[in-house]
């Protein structure tokens, strides 16, 4: 939009320090100068042209300041990368993500080494619970020293939870994608359980706290699926393609619960 700028007459008068400019004009001019770079440029040009006394004064001040400015240590270079990262992850979460990644790699290695000897895929078995650990780490009292400050901030709540969950998934999913591709597992077969577990952790976390929810889910998964599978050496029904609609349903339910109960993530309870 176009803006009414200050007339040259007032600018010249202001630069010379005229006393005959009306008070309301001075007020309007100064208010306008605060936000208009164009008019500030015009004023400084007017000062150079019409008020040598002011220019001389400014030059004197500058020559006095310059030695002092040179002595001040420059502000250290800002670590933009780390500032950007802390918007997406808890600053203490990196070790956790590294752990999750190494578990994935280990599972992948074991799968590749033991390929052919049995039909159980470790990547498939671990895929659902890996993001759970990351989600727990992103909203946990024990791992985030500033959890109470975070919980009291306006940005806390569903928005921040989802942001951090998304960044956990952004790290874990590519690793699983590589793992799934290398072991020949269908993408939907691990992706849906993965997302279902992440959403269930958050949904349950709104009730009993995210860390507790993660512990419950991981323990349940280990007892009900991982242990029987390893004992019988057969992939259970839930991980076959027949189980996919069920995982989809759990995912949708989890998302639904998270959205309807979004207010609960901004209180201390969700950090348990």
């Amino acid at each position: 939009m176009s803006v009414e700028h200050v007339s040259m007459r007032i600018i010249d008068g202001y630069a010379r320090g005229d006393t005959d400019i009306a008070a309301d004009e001075v007020w309007a001019l100064e208010a306008h100068m605060e936000m208009c770079g164009v008019c500030r440029d015009r004023l400084s040009a007017a000062v150079t042209a019409g008020a040598p006394a002011v220019t001389a004064l400014v030059d004197t001040v500058w020559s006095g300041l310059e030695p002092q400015l040179a002595a001040v240590a420059p502000v250290p270079r800002r670590r933009h990368w780390s500032a950007w990262l802390s918007g997406w992850l808890t600053p203490t979460m990196v070790p956790w993500l590294a752990m999750v990644m190494s578990v994935t790699l280990l599972a992948l290695l074991l799968d590749l080494v033991g390929n052919g000897s049995d039909e159980v895929s470790l990547v498939l078995l671990l895929a659902p619970v890996l993001p759970v650990l990351g989600v727990a780490a992103s909203w946990s009292r024990g791992l985030d020293p500033a959890y109470e400050l975070t919980a009291a901030a306006p940005r806390a709540g569903l928005y921040l939870v989802l942001r951090r969950t998304a960044s956990v998934l952004a790290v874990v999913l590519p690793a699983l994608l590589v793992g799934g591709w290398a072991t020949g597992v269908m993408v939907a077969q691990w992706l849906l359980p993965c997302l279902a577990f992440a959403s269930t952790t958050l949904a349950l976390g709104g009730v009993i706290g995210v860390t507790r929810a993660a512990v419950v889910l991981v323990a349940g998964w280990a007892a009900l699926v991982v242990a029987p599978t390893l004992v019988t050496n057969r992939t259970t029904f839930v991980l076959h393609t027949g189980g996919l609609p069920m995982w989809g349903l759990i995912f949708a339910l989890g998302i639904g619960v998270v959205i309807t109960r979004r207010g609960t993530y901004s209180v201390l309870g969700a950090h348990r």
Partner: protein
């Protein structure tokens, strides 16, 4: 005259700056109940109205001070009664983003990230508090200068002493220029000189902010607070200016200063009930403090 296009003009004074407030008290609680765990009520039927100024929240350990401050910071939700902050009722659900932007909070256990510099940490907190991106560097610098840490702003947090860390905590609490400032035991770990400086800062902030300082040090209250809120077992025992609290105590009560004697008279003395009534009367009378 018109010279081409320019960025969107902004008035020099924001409309929000001169808008009249739509509330009588920054903090108003009636019959407030806040639970800790399943059954225990740490704040049990509290009536309290706090306006601009520095309010010292005094009380023995376990009186429910931290729970009350957490409820005021909206991280714990009331189990009963009503709580209004800046005119907005706080209920059981909801995120209260707009309200939280105007609250500053220093928790009792101030956790921080050791690898961050002071500036990075306060910047991160400003981001969490949704301070407009363009204003963050200036707001951070101002907050860090106000707590006297400008020369250490680019040092890592792990290199700071306990008192300095506490001051970073105060800096992050004031970085969003809050209307309600909640400080839970802010003087813990400060040496005497820093404590004096901190009291000055409190008085300065108290001119246009509702500051609630929880403490168990009576001398902090005497020096910096315009109003004392004495709190025991989840209930209000006394509310009034420090002088009035001092006048309650007689020579027969325990304590080294008049305030301490007043404190022990109210918490241990036999006329406790009567003074409670008096305290509440002052509160409803409005404007006596």
């Amino acid at each position: 005259m018109t010279i081409g296009k320019d960025h969107h003009p902004m008035p020099a004074v924001n409309a929000a700056d001169i808008a009249p407030t739509a509330y009588a008290w920054e903090i108003r609680a009636t019959g407030l109940k806040v639970g800790v765990g399943r059954k225990h009520l740490a704040v049990d039927g509290l009536d309290l109205s706090l306006g601009t100024g520095v309010h010292g929240l005094l009380g023995p350990n376990g009186a429910g001070k931290t729970t009350l401050i957490r409820a005021l910071a909206t991280v714990l939700r009331p189990a009963g009664g009503t709580l209004e902050l800046l005119g907005e009722p706080v209920g059981r659900m909801g995120e209260y983003r707009a309200l939280r932007r105007r609250i500053g909070y220093l928790p009792q256990e101030f956790g921080y990230y050791k690898r961050f510099t002071v500036r990075e940490f306060v910047e991160y907190m400003a981001w969490l508090k949704e301070v407009p991106k363009a204003d963050i560097p200036a707001a951070v610098q101002r907050a860090v200068e106000r707590v006297g840490l400008a020369d250490r702003a680019d040092d890592k947090m792990k290199a700071l002493s306990g008192g300095m860390v506490r001051r970073v905590g105060i800096a992050q609490a004031i970085v969003n220029d809050p209307s309600i400032l909640l400080l839970d035991e802010p003087t813990a770990g400060l040496d005497p000189a820093q404590r004096l400086r901190f009291r000055e800062l409190l008085q300065e902030l108290g001119t246009d902010t509702c500051v609630v300082v929880s403490t168990h040090l009576v001398e902090d209250v005497a020096a910096a607070c315009t109003n004392v809120v004495l709190f025991a077992e989840g209930r209000l025992v006394f509310q009034g200016p420090p002088d009035e609290l001092a006048s309650v105590g007689g020579p027969e009560h325990v304590g080294d200063s008049p305030l301490e004697r007043g404190y022990s008279a109210l918490l241990l003395g036999p006329e406790r009930g009567r003074r409670t009534e008096h305290g509440r009367r002052t509160e409803h009378g409005r404007g006596t403090w």
